[in-house]
Amino acid sequence: MSTSWFRIERLLIIVSLLNCAARAQSAGSDTDQSPAAPEGWETGGYMIHQSTEIGYRLSYLTGSQEMYNTLVDLRTGPRFLEQSLLMQSEDHTGLLFDDLSIDSFGWGGDPNNALHARIDKGRWYDFRAAFRRNQTDFDYNLLANPLNPPTSSPSIPVTFSPHYFSTRRRMEDFDLTLLPQSKVDFRLGYSRNNMTGPSYSSVHEGTDAWLYQNWNTTLNSYRIGADLKPLPGTVISYDQFLDYYKGDTNWQLAPFGTALLPAGAGTVTLGLPFDTANKNPCAVTPPATSLIDPSGTLTNIDCNGYFAYNRTDRIRTSTPTERLSLRTTSIQRLELSASYAYSSADMNAPLNEFFNGLTTRTDTRQETVTGPGHATNISNVADFTATVHLSEHFRLVDTFRFWSYRIPQSFISTETSWTCNSSANCTLLTPLSATTQGPPTVTPDELSFNQNWTTNESDVIWDITKHMGARVGFRYGDQLFNQLEYAADEQNRVVVHGYTPLAAFWAKPMPNLRFNFDFEHTNNDNTIVRIGPRKESRYRIQANYTPKPWAVLGGGINLWQASNGNRLIDYQGHNRNYGFTASLMPRERFSFEFAYNYTQYQQNALICFNDSATSLPVVANAGSCTANGYDEPSNPLLTNGIYQSSTNYGMGSVMFKPLPRLTTQMGYSITSTGGQTPQFNVLQPFGSLQYNYQQPLANVAVDIGHELTLKAGWNYYQYNEQSFVGPTDPRYFHANNATFSLRWAF
């Protein structure tokens, strides 16, 4: 409490100081009642504009904190909400720079914050920098949840997401262009992408253990390039890129389902799934009635469990890439752009895995797996676009892209197991001295993953009049996929040819009214994955109407459908989207915005599965895979694996300025979804299949003069799933967030 008060006190002091400073800066300039645009401040030959907004956010939550963090994650505390600085040399003769702009937002604890900066000095240089940071607190408790049944003894529901993330990604980009307007210019760049933080995963070794995944990955990217302009309209560029990736994530055993071993022999971690009736992690042995007795002691020591587990996989990937590109308009009627890039990535990942516990199926008490993993990716990318101006009204546009890569891969695993000397007496209490260390099993694995991908699209564009035009074209594509497994002497080779006629039409019957229509239909003669479409169509109709300069109306229909009619697959998919928007600002004091969107999505294919829950409709009504030509005895049931959802989205927002110095805004948005999908498990909640997500808001801003604006905002978030929660914690939440801030702009 005292810490919070101290923070508020500090904030108030800072606000007061800024207020005084602002008053001093702008003394005598507050006679104008209207919140006119800040005039800036002249000093040192620069015109300076600056703004700063600081404030405090209060967040009151009811319901699931985990879901709130997953979807919103705005928390209570002081914030440096945003800042901007613009400096422009008035006569463009600044010593170090002519223009400087820096803007940023989200400092002080918000999940997203970013800074963008740009500095340039006329014809000498142009420098841009960006910093972006985002915090991801993902704890959707249905993801990777084993749905432990209440009938298990003991019943231990998993109330969080076993694959929980609380990671931070920091991205920095720096780009410098030297002599940007010269015949030869040079470019230098550097980017860094670092992701750290705790996350969790799981591993299967007898049972599924929960793992603490200490995330730490870094990508450093270096760029250097030059542009040469030998002729007017012609530029030749060379770029050299180097990406260096470091994956230092490691995995360690996390405690879940821990139990004491009898006779004070320590503790064992039994992992995430608790379904003793189905022997997860093992069955209850009578006379015990629970796998863990009231004292916390394990009653069945012939059980899958973990004493220790850790894994490191120190990945190092170096990817140098060279690119040569050309653009020219020096040839009459032609605009040509082309490039070629060669890349050769090299990845090394030495695995070190250690397991100590018991895998009852194999009587393994301890196991280590080590081995070097190695892969390279040799890639060639060539592309060009050419626009030929056939006449005043006709253009031919050709777009070509070729991407080819081969990835030779190898992993030589060395597996060493400590197996119980006596299978009959193999338990968690078996000491390592009662096991036999087997000879290391060395398994070399060599593979190669190759793909060639070529597409060419040719379009004829006809500008019929200034008010309408059309486009007709054809896209041809071929994709060659070739996967080799040398040890098994297997080859998986698939070639897909795709043929896509396409057409478009646009019309502007009036200068303020515009229609667009797009259509394309693809026929593929093969597919690589089972639900890859053989036929695919897209239609898009769009209209934009601006009846008055202050009224912008828009509407659109987007339709996508795909299918694979193979009788053993019967894949169907579609996305049907209809929407319109309206933005009205009849007066400077009043504006209104409205949007509505409806989306229907479906994806289904015949599936074979194995399920003994005969009370479920999908099982009761399932057909026979064998009777329908499938040959998969372990998955005998046949059904249409369908996912269907209908989503309504609506939003409205009103801005009203009842007084020149007072601005108010109210708004509301909702995403409402319903759908269907088969239920395979009686405990399986439908989760996000049906929900309402509502976000009303209200804001008030008062211009108090002296370039100061007081702002107050209210945001409400409500997420409400509309089905049973199963053996998980409810995911409903609503939150009231209030933000009070002071903005100073000059």
Partner: protein, 306 residues
């Protein structure tokens, strides 16, 4: 059969080449872009310099030109205003006759774009514009940019992203409002981080890395690989075969609400794809990824366990 297909492929690829050969000639003195642009002042007009323009258009010059990046056109003996509007002597001598100088409001989109691209086309970002889907649907530079009246100083946009894009792509606005979405509305990333609105050689104007990899791995660097064991659809179909990148109703941006169903749609039976799981769905886990945790690719497990 094979010969016929090869012939068809050859014809498809050769058609554009034939067109190119028929129509190409070196451009004479002036650039292609100048030739395309309507030039009412013709050859007689001379450059008069930006200071002359300023005498009549002082407010526009000071507020809407001098403070914008286009002021650089005056440097290195550049023509300033006339870099875009063409030589102005006829316009001046005509007492400000608007028909005697290039006026972007009356110019065709192609001509206006050509004027802009005469400089901006040199940048890698804008090189494919004339072949882009936007240009092919009659969208020109001035539909998104306003050199003199920009509301967004960065890139002189008529409106800031993402609202500028939502103006036409209304479905994207709804997508980014879903519970699971990339943080575009929050300002962390922009539409143009993933799409090059000025054109690419890929579908949907999606950016690609110079090595050809999907733009997604720019941020999701751990998914780039190469891996010892690649998960086939990640490489052959792309991230969007399992995820909807703008936004989703489902956790992890998945296309469907339940992980198992997504997996089963491909892993169903060996005759039509990879082998399916033998697990009893009534007694086993809610998500395949509980065991197959390294589903985007693994360096140590061909079933993506670790």
């Amino acid at each position: 059969m094979k010969k016929r297909r090869t012939l068809k492929e050859f014809l498809v690829l050769a058609t554009p080449a034939i067109f190119l050969l028929l129509f190409l000639r070196p451009t004479p003195a002036d650039s292609q872009t100048d030739k395309n642009a309507t030039s009412p002042q013709k050859d007689s007009a001379q450059y008069v310099g930006s200071d002359v323009c300023k005498t009549c258009h002082e407010e526009l010059y000071k507020k809407n030109f001098e403070a914008t990046p286009h002021f650089k056109t005056t440097l290195q003996n550049g023509h300033g205003c006339e870099s875009c509007h063409g030589p102005g002597s006829a316009h001046v001598e005509g007492g400000g006759d608007v028909t005697k100088i290039l006026n972007f409001e009356t110019m065709s989109k192609q001509d206006a774009d050509a004027r802009c691209l005469s400089c901006h086309g040199e940048k890698h970002e804008q090189r494919h514009f004339s072949a882009s889907v936007h240009a092919g649907n009659d969208l020109g530079c001035l539909d998104c940019h306003s050199p003199h009246h920009a509301k967004e100083a960065a890139h002189l946009l008529v409106q800031a992203q993402p609202n500028l894009c939502y103006g036409c792509h209304a479905s994207a606005k709804a997508d980014f409002a879903r519970p699971y979405h990339h943080r575009v509305d929050e300002g962390l990333i922009q539409c143009s981080d993933c799409h090059n609105v000025h054109g690419t050689t890929t579908l949907k104007q999606v950016r690609a890395l110079p090595s050809g990899d999907a733009v997604c791995v720019n941020c999701h660097a751990d998914k780039r690989g190469p891996f010892v064991y690649e998960h086939v659809p990640v490489k052959t179909e792309g991230c969007s075969s399992c995820h909807t990148p703008h936004g989703s109703n489902n956790a992890r941006y998945l296309r469907v609400s339940q992980v198992n169903l997504l997996c089963l749609q491909c892993h169903s039976f060996p005759a039509q794809g990879p082998a399916g799981p033998a697990h009893n769905q009534a007694t086993k886990y809610q998500a395949c990824t509980m065991c197959h945790a390294m589903i985007h690719g693994s360096n140590a497990s061909n079933v993506f366990f670790r």
